[in-house]
Structures are given as C-alpha cells and as structure tokens.
Amino acid sequence: MFHKVLIILSSALTVASAIGVLVTKDIVRACIFLFFSLFGVAGIYASLGADFVAVTQIMVYVGGVVILMLFAVMLTGGPGKESAGSKGYLLIPMMGNKITFGFGIFSGLVLLLTMAKITKSVIASVTISEVEGFASTVERIGSLLVSEHVLAFEISSILLLGALVGAAMIARPRKNV
C-alpha cells in the first residue's frame, strides 16, 4: 500500500512539476518547480528500490544544482518576465513562436511512437516481480563502482575537476572587457 502511494505521489509530483516548469512565466518559479520535479524523481527511484541513487539525487540535484541555478538567476538580474499572449499556446510564456511550438509537439509525437515501437516487446516480456522490501544497495553499488566501473569512476573525477577549474576560469571577471 505504502509502495503504491509512494509511486503515485512521486509520479504526480514529477509530471506536474515538469509541466509547471514548462508553463510558468517566472524563471525563479521554474527553478522551484524543477526542485519539486527532481524531488519526485528521487521518490520514483526510491519506489524502484534504488535507495542510494535516490539519496544522491536529493543531495546533488536538489541540494546542489537547483541552488546553483537560483544563484545564477539572481546574479543575472533576477527574475525576468516576458510578455505572454492572451490565448491558446500563446498563454505559455516565453515561447518563441508557432513554429517552435509546433516542432516541439511534433518531435514529442515522433519520440512517443518510436519509444512505443522499441519498448513494446520488452514490456510484453517483463515479469512483474514483487518488490523485495528495501534492501540496501549501497554496499553493492560501492563495490561495483571500484571494481567493474572503476575507469568511468576515475574519469568522472577528472571531469569534475575540469568542470570546477573551467567554471572558475570562465566566470572570472576580466578587466579588459
């Protein structure tokens, strides 16, 4: 029961917040919606038995990336608004124009079709097993990270270092501008 409630709640939160990101006029609100959406994704992870991934999602994404974005919004002149139209798709704020909107919808449809085609056989063959409680995955993930995926693990550390240095380099104010 708890499991089903978790799934429904987090799914609803995720989807609703994602659509909120899409339609809100205010960039700060978009960030807040993103916050909730990512939180919902963490719940979905938890419902799939991936407790470690869920916790990481909350810590890194919700605690780090979204806060970073809020800072960026504030550093770049605060919440900016763009005028929205009065009806139809124009209600959705900050849309480019009809063409972009049409393309977006079209692309989504194509993707839906494609995904349905590809995943149909997989879904048909899946045997839905009972959830075997919440056995901790931390230990196994840890050993996987340093055995099978150790190369990617090490490379990601270099990537993070590079991103750190690069971000500092790029954002540093220069006198000659």
Binding site: G96, T100, F103, G104, F106, S107, V110, L111, L113, T114, K117, I118
Partner: protein, 727 residues
C-alpha cells in the same frame, strides 16, 4: 654480472637525465646546474667501470659478448617481416669504449667548470655536453645500425650547437653550419648503406649482419651498375666514416670546429664525435673485407694522415695545430683499418682519445690564462706565446707527456698503438707476400706523416713553452698557475694515462718486455677481428629487468705472440714489425731533433724553408684549396651555374612560350568571350541576381546563429532517423 636494464641503461640515462634537468630547470639551480651534469657523467662512468671490470677482469675472453634486444617497432604483416629491435651489444670493444668515453667526458666536464666560468651561457654549455655524451654512449651501446644512426645524428646536432656556441661571432655560426652540412654528406651515404644492408639481411643488427656475412648472403648481390652490394654498402658506410671522422676529402669541417669553446673541441676531437666514425668502421670491418674495400680505405687513411700533417706544419693557432693533428691521427686509425690492423686501429682510437683530450684541455688552460687587455679576448696565436713553462708548470707537464705520446716516443701510448699500425702497414704494403706495387704508397705516407707529426707537435711545444716570451705584456699579465681541482687534476690524470704501460705490458709495444705476467698484452688479447662464423648460431635474448642468460663460462684467452699464424709467416710479420718499430722511433726522434734545431738552437732557419717552398707554403696556408674547391668551385660555380641554367630555362623557354603563348591564346579567347558576354550573359545576369537573393535569404535563415533553431533541426533530424529505422 647481470646485463639488465638496471645495470646497462643507467650509463645512458644518467647523462640524459642531467640534460633534461639542465634543459628545463638548469637556470634556477645553484651554479647553473653544472654539478648535475658532472654527477650524471660520473655516475655513468661508475656503471661503465662495472662493465669494463666484468669484461676485462671477469671473463677475459675475446669471444665474449652480450647481445640483448627488445622490440621497438613491429609492423610485420603476413610473410613480410618488418621488425626493428633496439638493444645492447657489448663486447670487449664496447666495454673499453664505454670506459674511455665516460672517463674522458667526465674529466672534460670537470675542466669545463673551470674554463667556462663566467660565461653568460655557462649552464647551456653543460646541457649540451650532457646531451653530447649521451649520444656517444648510446652509439657505443647500440646493437644495430639504425640506433647507431639515431645517436649519430644526435651527435651531429650537438656538435652543431657546440661549434656555434659563440653564435655572436659570424665565423662560429658559419663553422657550425659547415660542420653540419659536411657531415650530412656522409650521413646520407650511411643511410643508403643501412637501406642496402636491410635489403639483404632484413635487419640492421650487427649480429645479424655478421651472421649473413658468414653464410655468404652478400655474395652475388648486385646494387647498381654491376657494383656488388657488399662493396656498395661497405663504401657507403665508409663514406659515413669519412664525413664523421673528417677523412679526405670531407676533412674541411674539423679545423673550423675549433670555433667552439675549447672543452667542446676536446670532446669532439677526442672522445665522441670523430671517434664515432672510426668506431663504426671497426664494427663493420667484416663488411669492409667482404666488399674488398680495404685498399681504398688504406689509401684514404694514408692521404689524410699525411696531408693533414703537412697543413699542421705552418699553422700558428695552437688549436689549429691540434685540429690538424686530430685529422692526421684519425687518418692513422683509418689506415690501420685498411691494412687489417684491427687491434692497433682500435688501440690508437683509445690512446688518441686520451692524449688528444689532454692536449686540447692543456691548450684550453694556456688560452684561458692568456688574456689580452687590449682586445679583451683570449690569445690563441703561438707567435705571441713563449716561455710559458715557468708560469704554468702543471699544464706544461701534462702537455709534454701528450706531445711525447703523439710523437711516438717509446714508453708512451702513442708509440704503442701507432707503431703497430705502421708495422702492419709495412707488412701489408711492402714486405708481405701479398703486397702489390700499388700498396707501397700508404706505408710510406704513414711513416712520412709520423715524422711530420713529431716535428709539428714539438714545434708547438717549443713555441709555446720554451724560449723567451715574445709578447712581454701578455706574459706579465699571465698569472702563475696554482694546482686546482678543476683545472690541473683532469690534465694530470689524463697525462698519467698517456703512458704506454696501461695499454701494453711490453713497454716497447713489441711484446718483448714482459712486466705484468700472463696478462701483459691484455689489449691485443681481448680485441680481435669479429669472427663472423661465431655468430652463425645465436638466439636473441630479451633485454629486461632480469637476466635470463645462463652463466657463460668461456675459456680465458691467452696472448698469442704469433697472432695465430704459421711459424714462417709469423717470422715475416715480426721482422716487419721490428723494422717498423725501428723506423718509427727513428723518424720520431728525427722530427723532434729538427724541431729542436729550428726553434730552440735556432741553427736552422724556418724562413729558409718557407722561402724555398713558397708555393707549397701558399697551398698549405689555403689548406690545399679544399675550401676554395667546395665553396668557390662546387657551390659557386657548379651549383650556381645549374641554378642559372634552370633560371634561364624558366625565363627563356617556359616564360616565353608557355606563359606568353597562353597569354595570346587568352587574348583571343577574351574577344570571343566578350561577344558572348555582351549578348548572352548580360541578359541572364538579372536572373542571377534574383536567384542569389533567394539563396541568400534561405541560407541566412538557416545560418541564423540561434542555438534553439539548431537544436530544433537536430531533434527533427534524429527523429526522422529513428522513424526510418523503427518503422
């Protein structure tokens, strides 16, 4: 002893590491990093000494060698093997060369810290010295011709940098260019030889070459125009030697090489650069024999020895005398190779390296102490020296030993080695059974050169150290020499090793006086011509961290006074050698005596000889017109004429007919096109304008620079692609 990466590679890596350290952070180190180079070469000397110890005191066998390889490049495909190995080939010759090169280079390094002191590019000099020594040590250790070539070129570069070290002076820059270009002629030939050998052997390893020579793979192979391949390869390798060891006719670069600082001259003339050429010829001696090239080699060596000695007679620059004596002595080595005196040629290489290094360092010591207060430069001209014996007793002592050695006075090293070469040449050319009439000239030239050598070396000594000071002011300003670690100790150490007893237990060099028991002729015992049939069955050993060889026990070699010949032949050989020894002692003392008469007793007037042979004198001053030949005739006349001819062809034929002809055709076409233009094209131009405008709008929209548009196109493209493969 194990021959692994840990025991062999450090010889090469210590100087290399010193080079790298000095090249990058040398300026920030105290004393500009000279101690890094010195420690590097001293450590290298230590490791070399271990190998020398193992070979000479451990195994003591002329057949013993170590050959280890690892794969460098492997591009084999199917049945086409293409594999290049790198590795080490160490035999007695290599062991001795290693000890000589690292030892002499170490002393030169130490002396440089005295000589170059206060130079604005002090640190850079040591950087080059380290790289230079690395090149020579690597060349000596190499097991194949390709890596020899690599280190050979490395040394070429270093000599270029060192000769042009004072690049502010125009002559220095020209001299370095000349040295580089002249040796390049030989290098190209060497590369051709490598290719030729590869075509037969499929490898350039020394051992593989010996193996194929023994199995007769070179027989019947023809290079071009009916020239046997063995002769072709042998000649090309010898051409490399001619370039590197400054033999006739490519000797022109070596005298100019003294433009560099004196320690680097010592390094080039003694231990490293010029020795490399002779070393290569010795290594490839079986090929030279198979190519029937020995007579040619003997002639080249004799001509070089004699010609350079004559030029040295009239030089007034102390370093120029030494430079020409180097060429002359290298000629002796090549003569030794040509007459089959393998052992003595190599011994002369070692002894010459020691005494020539000492001579150059002594000359450096003299030059350094003579400072002209008017021009603020060092003085190298002998006419301004004289009487320096009292000011510089230690330098005098060292230089006197070396002069006696190079002149061929008994009990000194030069006598031991040069006398053997001359004895062998005498046997080969005149008294031997197989001597043809045309073989008589090299030995005669050799003895004549020995006489001249004794004369001009003593002339240099007498002009520099004896008599009255000819330039009083210079003499007064010269400080009295004090015994110092980095000035005199290297000289005196080298001078000690000019004694013949180190190289041959018999003091006369004839195997007659035995002083060290069974091993009194260790040099002759250990160095033998490579017996190619010994290499018929061998397996390559991997060069790694562990020694995989089983313990090899060789029978200890013994000295054979009859050189493995029959009783009668040996008698002939000994007779020739006794005559040769007597003759060479005679000419040496004659030369010294005449120099004594001319420059000390003054009872003979040098001016008389100059006046009598004034045309010869002029030729000698112009160095037999070789510079004239190369620069004024070969380059200015021949190459420039060809150049002009090509230019004339360009202007006269190509320009007039091709270009101008094209122009007239074009003019005609232009008229036709003009008509076409006016009536047809003009009307379509408007259409073109419209279409361009249309395309412009289209492409401007696509190239909007808006990221979102690009992203949209991307998504669409990917979507259609997936759609295509999914349905």
């Amino acid at each position: 002893m194990d021959y692994t990466i840990g025991t062999v590679a450090p010889i090469l890596l210590f100087p290399l590491a010193a080079f790298v350290i000095n090249a990058f952070i040398g300026r920030k180190l105290p004393r500009q990093g000279d101690w890094v180079s010195i420690i590097g070469i001293l450590l290298s000397f230590g490791w070399s000494a271990r190998i020398f110890n193992d070979f000479v005191f451990g195994h003591y066998s002329s057949d013993y060698y170590v050959h280890k390889v690892f794969t460098w490049i492997d591009l084999s495909y199917g049945d086409f093997p293409f594999q290049i190995d790198l590795g080490i080939y160490i035999d007695n010759m290599t062991a001795m060369m290693l000890l000589m090169v690292s030892g002499v280079a170490a002393l030169i390094h130490i002396f440089s810290s005295f000589y170059m002191k206060g130079d604005p590019r002090y640190g850079r000099f040591f950087t080059y010295l380290s790289l230079f020594t690395t090149g020579m040590l690597g060349l000596v250790l190499s097991e194949n011709l390709l890596s020899v070539f690599i280190f050979w070129e490395l040394m070429g570069f270093c000599s270029y940098s060192l000769i042009g070290f004072y690049y502010e002076k125009e002559e220095a820059g020209n001299a370095s260019m000349k040295a580089f270009m002249t040796t390049r002629v030989g290098d190209v030939c060497f590369l051709l030889a490598i290719l030729g050998i590869w075509s037969v052997v499929g490898s350039v390893s020394f051992v593989d070459i010996y193996n194929h020579l023994a199995s007769g793979a070179f027989e019947g192979q023809v290079a071009i125009l009916g020239i046997p391949l063995a002769s072709f390869c042998a000649f090309m390798i010898f051409a490399g030697t001619i370039g590197k060891s400054a033999q006739f006719p490519l000797q022109v670069w070596l005298p100019d090489a003294m433009m560099g600082p004196t320690p680097c001259s010592a390094l080039i003339h003694a231990a490293t650069m010029v020795a490399a050429g002779v070393y290569l010829s010795l290594r490839m001696y079986p090929l030279m024999e198979a190519g029937h090239l020995t007579t040619f080699i003997a002639y080249i060596g004799a001509i070089t020895a004699f010609g350079a000695a004559t030029i040295a007679l009239i030089q007034t620059d102390i370093k120029a005398v030494l430079a020409y004596s180097t060429i002359s002595q290298l000629g002796y080595m090549v003569l030794g190779i040509g007459v089959g005196s393998y052992n003595a040629a190599f011994m002369h290489l070692i002894t010459h390296a020691v005494f020539k290094a000492c001579l150059f360092l002594s000359a450096g010591s003299v030059i350094h102490s003579l400072h002209d207060h008017h021009t603020h430069g060092h003085v190298q001209e002998m006419p301004r020296m004289g009487g320096l014996r009292k000011k510089m007793p230690y330098t005098f002592l060292a230089m006197a030993c070396c002069t006696l050695a190079i002149s061929g006075v008994p009990f000194f090293s030069g006598f031991v080695s040069k006398d053997r070469i001359l004895g062998d040449a005498l046997y080969w050319g005149i008294t031997g059974h197989h001597a043809h009439w045309y073989q008589a000239i090299p030995p005669i030239l050799g003895f004549a050169a020995a006489f001249l050598t004794a004369f001009y070396m003593c002339r240099m000594m007498f002009l520099t150290f004896f008599g009255e000071p000819r330039d009083k002011e210079l003499y007064e300003h010269c400080h009295k020499e004090k015994l110092s670690l980095n000035r005199n100790i290297p000289l005196l150490l080298l001078a000690v090793f000019t004694l013949g007893v180190w190289y041959s237990g018999s003091l006369t060099g004839q195997g007659k006086v035995k002083v060290a028991g069974d091993r009194y002729e260790w040099f002759s015992t250990l160095i033998e011509k490579p017996n190619t049939s010994n290499f018929r069955e061998y397996t390559k050993e991997p060069f790694g961290l562990k020694d995989t060889r089983g313990t090899v026990h060789f029978e200890k070699s013994h000295y054979d006074p009859s050189h493995g010949l029959s009783e009668e032949e040996a008698h002939h050989v000994h007779t020739a050698h006794n005559i040769g020894a007597g003759l060479s002692i005679l000419v040496a003392f004659l030369g010294i005596f005449i120099a004594f008469l001319m420059y000390i007793r003054k009872s003979m007037d040098p001016g008389f000889w100059v006046r009598t042979f004034h045309r010869w004198n002029k030729a000698l001053k112009e160095k037999y017109y070789f510079d004239h030949l190369y620069i004024d005739v070969l380059i200015q006349k021949v190459l420039l004429t060809v150049n002009r001819l090509l230019a004339a062809f360009d202007m006269g034929v190509y320009d007039r007919f091709a270009i101008d002809g094209m122009a007239s055709v074009n003019r005609w076409l232009y008229k036709a096109a003009n008509f076409f233009d006016n009536f047809i094209v003009d009307n379509s131009v408007d259409l073109t304008g419209v279409s361009v405008k249309f395309l412009n709008v289209a492409s401007r929209t696509v190239q909007s620079g808006k990221v979102q548009f690009y992203f949209m196109v991307l998504i669409l493209a990917v979507s259609f692609y997936i759609l295509k493969i999914s349905f």
